[in-house]
């Protein structure tokens, strides 16, 4: 593919995605309903959110080499802070977003400053521990704020009307699409900037960066905060798509899913991470639907149990990819197009 | 360059290194290093700092990824795991001694014991009587010289070790201790072949017979130690200023 053909292809794809809510087309097997059905748009919106989220994770993991196991915390910050401001304190959406933005900068700054005192696996463990603290906090429902296991439901009157209701799913879908594009643009700009090149140098050899007179700690902290902040932004859009906050997004299992997405798509490539996030969310959703089909339900238990567990299938797929395809799906596609 | 650069393929060659290449990251650390070590005595591996001497030893042992060929008594070893190479009679005394700080002296030695090999505790304790007295002491609390003794003792312990790779054994040691180490190496050379990396050229001069000099990842000189040291211009060219007038 020449760069020019690729540009045209991408432009067409983008136009199709923008126009999707107006396309009354049913693709059997791919989606449950027609392309313009709210269910389809919601699923696609979630796919975009996870594509963007995987991308933010790839910034720290793929580009700086920081194996964080606490990324869910920052996504959940976007989800919960916004939800609390809207429902518990009845703030307007702009005010809620402003608060979320502040928290989404301060929290990773403080926690990152502590966590980055460690490297490698100890760093991973510490980020995991902090994320776990966040999860405990949300689950314990302090002062009746977070709703514990119930989560927080956005009422109809908490949001501007164009974002509420099944009929307006297409608006939220567009918001998710814009989110993906904006996050991609920021991430692209960041990794191709001078600090972005320092990040990649840190990933290859941190000591050498230190020898050059640069302080790796500050660069790592910068990447950590940027990535966390963007993750919070994706959390806000997730909240809009889901119509509420659920504590599942705070768990370590959720971070592990992010890890699977990035490895699935290919570590250290922007579009690979996006692809991984989209494919993961799509499979997770569609595999549940597949599990409920009569043909699977009628299988004997030995086959039925594994096939009806999306996480089992994704876990196995993940292991196979790590063992045999270190470049992920992105690497596979690139090899195919090169060969 | 001397004619002896040709890797000696003669029957008395115990270790033959051929076209050894090592990359670390993007740096080409060793670029086709070839040399032979004759059976018996001490061969010196010399050169300035950072030219690849330690890397060569680690490459021979398979502690780092490398390409090329390493023949030990005629057997190709580059496909073997480190422990398999070692079990063919190669002992390693690393630059930083690498004694196990949390283990006692006695445990350090016991770890080096190899099943089936005759153990030379007599020799080890004769050379380093201190180790016997400090058997129960944690190796991490020993002085640098004592740690060097532990490292040398580990290498000498197994009777079936035929070649010792010794990396800068006198580095950072007091003159008195240096003499002790030199004496020990001389004794060791009576029972095994030694490939010695040494920055202290007066020590090297007094111990070694054959010399291999590395420069920027390549062999720049091989030959007799007198040939190199006896010619100040040659020594300076290959070893730098330090060669003139010792340290």
């Amino acid at each position: 593919m020449t760069p020019r053909v690729r540009m045209i292809g991408l432009a067409v794809l983008l136009l199709v995605l923008i126009a999707l809510p107006f396309i009354k087309l049913t693709i059997p097997g791919l989606f449950g309903g027609s392309l313009d059905a709210p269910g389809t748009l919601n699923l696609l919106g979630l796919c975009f959110v996870f594509g963007a989220l995987a991308l933010t994770y790839d910034l720290v993991f793929g580009y700086v080499g920081l194996l964080s196991f606490g990324h869910a915390l920052y996504f959940a910050t976007g989800v919960y802070v916004t939800a609390l401001a809207l429902t518990r304190w009845h703030w307007s959406l702009p005010a809620a977003l402003a608060l979320t933005a502040v928290v989404s900068l301060v929290l990773p700054l403080v926690l990152g400053a502590v966590c980055l005192r460690m490297r490698d696996i100890p760093f991973a463990m510490v980020t995991l521990a902090f994320a776990q603290a966040g999860s405990i906090l949300v689950m314990q429902n302090p002062f009746g704020l977070t709703g514990g296991e119930e989560g927080v439901a956005l009422g109809g009157d908490t949001l501007p009307s164009f974002l509420v209701g099944v009929a307006n799913t297409r608006n939220v879908y567009w918001v998710a699409l814009v989110l993906l594009l904006v996050v991609y643009a920021i991430a692209w700009r960041a990794v191709n900037s001078p600090p972005g090149r320092v990040w990649q140098a840190i990933r290859e050899n941190e000591r050498r960066v230190g020898v050059l007179g640069l302080n790796p700690y500050l660069y790592k902290l910068g990447a950590f905060v940027l990535s966390a902040f963007l993750a919070s932004a994706t959390g806000v859009v997730y909240l809009l798509l889901q119509g509420g906050a659920n504590p599942e997004v705070t768990t370590s299992g959720f971070t592990l899913a992010l890890l699977v997405m990035v490895v699935l798509g290919g570590i250290g490539t922007l579009w690979g991470a996006v692809l991984g996030g989209i494919v993961y969310e799509y499979l997770d959703f569609r595999l549940v639907a597949l599990a409920n089909t009569p043909s699977v339900q009628s299988l004997p238990g030995v086959l039925k149990v594994p096939l009806t567990q999306p996480l089992f299938l994704l876990g196995v797929l993940f292991i196979v990819l790590v063992l045999f395809v270190p470049g992920g799906l992105g690497g596979l596609l690139r090899r195919r197009s090169a060969g | 360059m001397s004619a002896a650069v040709q890797p000696a393929a003669a029957a008395d060659t115990l270790l033959a290194v051929r076209d050894l290449d090592v990359y670390i990251g993007e740096s080409h650390i060793l670029q086709g290093v070839s040399f032979g070590v004759r059976r018996g005595g001490i061969t010196g591996l010399l050169g300035r700092n950072g030219v690849g001497k330690t890397t060569t030893l680690r490459g021979v042992l398979g502690l780092i990824a490398r390409t090329g060929s390493v023949l030990l008594a005629g057997e190709e070893t580059t496909r073997l795991a480190t422990h398999e190479i070692v079990r063919r009679g190669v002992a390693y005394v690393p630059e930083d001694r690498d004694v196990f700080a949390g283990l006692t002296v006695e445990e350090n030695l016991r770890l080096a014991e190899r099943a089936g090999a005759p153990l030379r505790y007599d020799l080890v304790y004769e050379l380093f009587p201190e180790l016997k007295q400090r058997a129960a002491q944690k190796a991490g609390t020993l002085s640098g010289g004592q740690q060097q003794m532990v490292a040398l003792a580990r290498a000498l312990l197994n009777g079936d070790n035929t070649i010792l790779l010794v990396d800068e054994p006198t580095k950072g040691l007091a003159p008195l201790v240096v003499r002790h180490v030199v004496d020990a190496l001389r004794r060791a050379a009576e029972i095994a072949t030694i490939l010695l990396v040494e920055q202290n050229l007066s020590v090297a001069h007094s111990l070694v017979k054959d010399v291999v000099v590395l420069d920027q990842g390549r062999v720049s000189f091989t030959g007799d130690v007198e040939q190199l040291m006896g010619d100040p211009a040659l020594a300076r060219r290959h070893l730098g200023l330090a060669a003139v007038g010792g340290h």
Partner: protein, 293 residues
């Protein structure tokens, strides 16, 4: 006083469970630099295997059933861990992140499989009557299961110390935690030590799985992962690679959690444990790293 005695012993019991998980994690990390997320899967799979075996032996006395369950859990934990090391970890030699990732995948896959096979609801464990009784200590009625868990963990601790201090394999493990390359350079096949620490870690985790079931009276698919996170914290506070450190840290974490969850609001204890970790890291960024004793 009564409450304090109860909390002390309950916290000690919790610490005992953490220790059983953390000891293996710590050795695996120390020797191989692998953060083993599959440890929670060893715990869970072994617990369900033990529980199933106990039910199959339905005709036997409750004591024997329990014993069968524990033995099966230990064996299954050990075998599962050994297979994991040989099949998944070994091919990724020198790819540390890859090794961590496969353990993540394995954890996700096996735990969801257990969930699919047995359901996500807790399964009650039939325990011998003497275990469900209580013993009065300092005026407090302590469930006997607490004592049992503590005693078993103490025995395991003693066995591990014996193994590390008195056997050649233990010597190799201790040396390998310090400097793996030098162990190889002494002609020792470090790979075998890897398999061995995985096997030991898996057995301890399997034992923990069954003992946690005994402690709580039931097993469920999520507990392994939940306890794993606290075990990670124990490992860092105790010093990566140190079994004694893990034991001390496990007790501290267990007690802290128990007391603060009781005297503070629910969850305060869990939260404080994470805070403790942050403080430890701020004081000593490397954690309390020590020798593997």
């Amino acid at each position: 006083m009564t409450t304090i005695a109860l909390l002390l012993i309950t916290g000690l019991g919790l610490g005992a469970l953490y220790f059983l998980i953390a000891a293996g994690l710590s050795l695996i990390w120390g020797l191989m630099r692998v953060l083993n997320f599959a440890h929670g899967a060893f715990f869970t799979v072994a617990a369900y295997a033990g529980w199933s075996a106990g039910r199959l032996a339905g005709g036997a006395s409750p004591d024997l059933q329990w014993l069968i369950a524990v033995v099966v859990a230990v064996v299954v934990g050990g075998v599962f861990a050994t297979l994991t090391e040989v099949v998944l970890i070994r091919p990724l030699y020198a790819r540390h992140v890859g090794q961590v990732l496969v353990t993540v995948g394995l954890a996700l896959a096996t735990i969801s499989l257990v969930q699919g096979g047995f359901g996500s609801d807790p399964q009650r464990l039939a325990l011998p009557a003497w275990m469900t009784n209580t013993t009065t200590v300092l005026g407090a009625n302590i469930p006997n299961t607490r004592m049992l868990v503590i005693v078993v963990a103490l025995i395991v601790f003693a066995l591990l110390l014996f193994f590390l201090q008195r056997t050649r394999f233990g010597l190799i493990v201790r040396a390998g935690v310090e400097n793996r390359a030098m162990v190889q350079a002494l002609g020792i096949d470090v790979q075998r030590a890897f398999t061995l620490v995985f096997a030991i870690g898996g057995m301890a985790a399997g034992l923990a799985g069954m003992l946690a079931g005994t402690y709580y009276g039931s097993i469920d698919p999520g507990r392994g992962s939940a306890m794993l996170i606290f075990a990670f914290i124990v490992v860092i506070i105790g010093g990566l690679g140190s079994v004694t450190g893990s034991a001390v840290a496990a007790v501290v974490v267990g007690e802290l959690q128990q007391f603060l969850n009781f005297y503070g609001a629910a969850g305060v204890g869990d939260f404080s444990v994470v805070l403790l970790l942050a403080i430890v890291l701020l004081i000593r960024p490397g954690g309390f790293s020590g020798a593997s004793t």
